[in-house]
Symmetry: C2
Subunit: 335 residues, 2 copies
């Protein structure tokens, strides 16, 4: 059966259910406006480990285990683990997969990974390849800064367009049946590059991809943005969100107050986080900690979540490349 509608969207015949979700964040995220919604807030960035990378792995594993426990499942019940992160060779996800011993599909979609994993996970269940899938994404401020930009010890001053990588991980258990919000559609995005090359303004680099996926999704479903009670991009921050609104306007699509961005929601301007939050963990923890409970508790009836990723590396930037973006959208409807 052909489940494609329009050019890039698929519709699920038996919409996979979000059985549980978990999120753990760092201290700074815990002090932000959403601080109270997460399952756990770290007291420091090392979390009892000797390196930030090991801390990130510990956080990711604990988040995954918490999601499993909430769903009253064990790793033996899960058919696939789909996960990724920002570290080179996605070691956070790899070592978490080693601990969990679930058949593992490693993903790299930069900060779009949470929604890449949700879209693929839903396809694997709806397609009959799995009954339960565990998906998730992770980032850590200190592991990302020293890998992508400067060692944090250096204290480099950040530009106002810069965003702060979220320390945190989100995990979701998807099931073929049960009670909970359901994933009804997914739109996988293309890589879009408007020629932006400033690694201190990733929001603007990703915004064209977010707008492209959003517009394609609306066109494929032949609906308008107000059909969703909320549209949330992943980590565009203040400037990226503005650019998405403008790019949609150019195509005669008006976004209104139902459009927000996880990177804007997670930090308060008083926290000196400039344009907002970013990183794989940003959309992961805001989705798991805030948006899904809004759906579960009836304050939202439908969500169009759009994970956004900047597909650069320090090497590509040093070799003069611009920064391509990607965005994957998933529709989640309240039960």
């Amino acid at each position: 059966m052909d489940k494609r509608i329009g050019l890039q969207t698929v519709v699920f015949q038996q919409p996979p259910v979000i059985l549980s979700h978990a999120s753990i964040v760092g201290p700074k995220e815990g002090q932000g406006p959403l601080g109270h919604v997460f399952d756990k807030v770290l007291e420091d960035m090392y979390y009892g480990e000797s390196t930030w990378e090991k801390a990130e792995q510990k956080v990711f594993l604990e988040t995954m285990e918490l999601a499993l426990a909430k769903a009253e499942l064990t790793s033996a019940d899960i058919d696939y683990l789909l996960a990724g992160d920002l570290t080179n060779q996605i070691i956070t996800a790899n070592f978490t997969a080693r601990s969990l011993a679930i058949p593992f599909i490693g993903l790299y979609g930069a900060c779009s990974t949470m929604y890449e994993s949700l879209a693929l996970g839903a396809m694997l269940i709806d397609g009959g390849y799995a009954r339960y899938v565990l998906v998730g994404a992770s980032s850590h401020y200190a592991t990302a800064e020293r890998q992508f930009r400067y060692p944090t010890e250096q204290g480099v001053q950040r530009s106002m367009s810069a965003q702060r990588t979220v320390t945190g991980a989100g995990a979701i258990v998807l099931g073929y049946q049960g009670t909970g919000p359901r994933i009804t559609h997914a739109t996988i995005g293309k890589v879009i590059d408007f020629g932006q090359s400033d690694a201190s303004d990733m929001g603007s680099a990703m915004a064209p991809a977010a707008a492209a996926t959003l517009l394609q999704h609306l066109s494929d479903r032949q609906i308008s943005p107000d059909c969703y009670s909320m549209i949330a991009t992943g980590d565009l921050g203040k400037y990226g969100r503005e650019l998405v609104v403008k790019l949609c306007e150019q195509q005669q699509v008006q976004l209104s107050s139902n459009y927000t961005d996880c990177g804007i929601l997670i930090f308060d301007e008083s926290q000196d986080t400039h344009a907002g939050g970013s990183g794989c963990g940003c959309s992961a923890v805001v989705t798991c900690g805030h948006l899904l409970p809004e759906l579960e508790q009836g304050r939202l009836t439908s969500l169009l979540g759009i994970g956004t990723g900047a597909l650069l590396s320090p090497c590509s930037s040093q070799q003069g490349e611009t920064i391509p973006g990607i965005a994957h959208a998933v529709v989640i409807e309240a039960n």
Copy 2:
């Protein structure tokens, strides 16, 4: 419909067809025993570009375009591109996806990526989410060496257990109908770690994962290894292959002459490549250039291909971690 059999294997109801395949390799691979089977052999490692990374991207894009042309399709016909490589943040795949403008699912499975992409691509078609999928993987000796080990200019002496990263890319067009070999089953592997920590002996680090996936696959299908006309692991090389044979023997499963490894096939011992070939490109080019034509021309009736990946990073090794492995298996049957 539940398409799972056993614990980790899925069976396709409408087996996706391999419509075309392409492979381009570097000069050293062109001088090897399979040199005559590839679509193109580079004259040098730069391929007219200013950096090895840009050369790798050019090779990957050209391989993808060649596979499309052979299938008499354009990028607009393709529903998804599934690809990955070894560079940090998989920039080879990202920039190739930018050029092709196909909805893109970025993967990281280290050297198992070709088979990860084949397994997932087959699920997307058989599940009804796509009619055509383009999959592929790439590696480049010089980009991998300087990123994972030492700058090649340094001329570090390699141990006899070391393998040589293959310069090359492979791409396959999968379709929902047509003529060609068919993907009938897939087995997604778990991350397995036997505590090996020598980054100069990746074959031994990956062998336990290869054996685990192979044994699980045989158990899930309740068949013996001689049911396949060939079993080929991805890039275990000489020592890794020996270890797989031993590990299977311990479980009373005898592998015979129908078991080979792409890393052994691609180089000749006279080429000073020590334990054999490795890298995402290894299983990709041997599968596309050698194994698929063997199926198409009737010299093989069925292939169990097992992509193998070592999930380390320089950072994880420096922080004292051992090297986990992963292996994904796909069954391809002659038309």
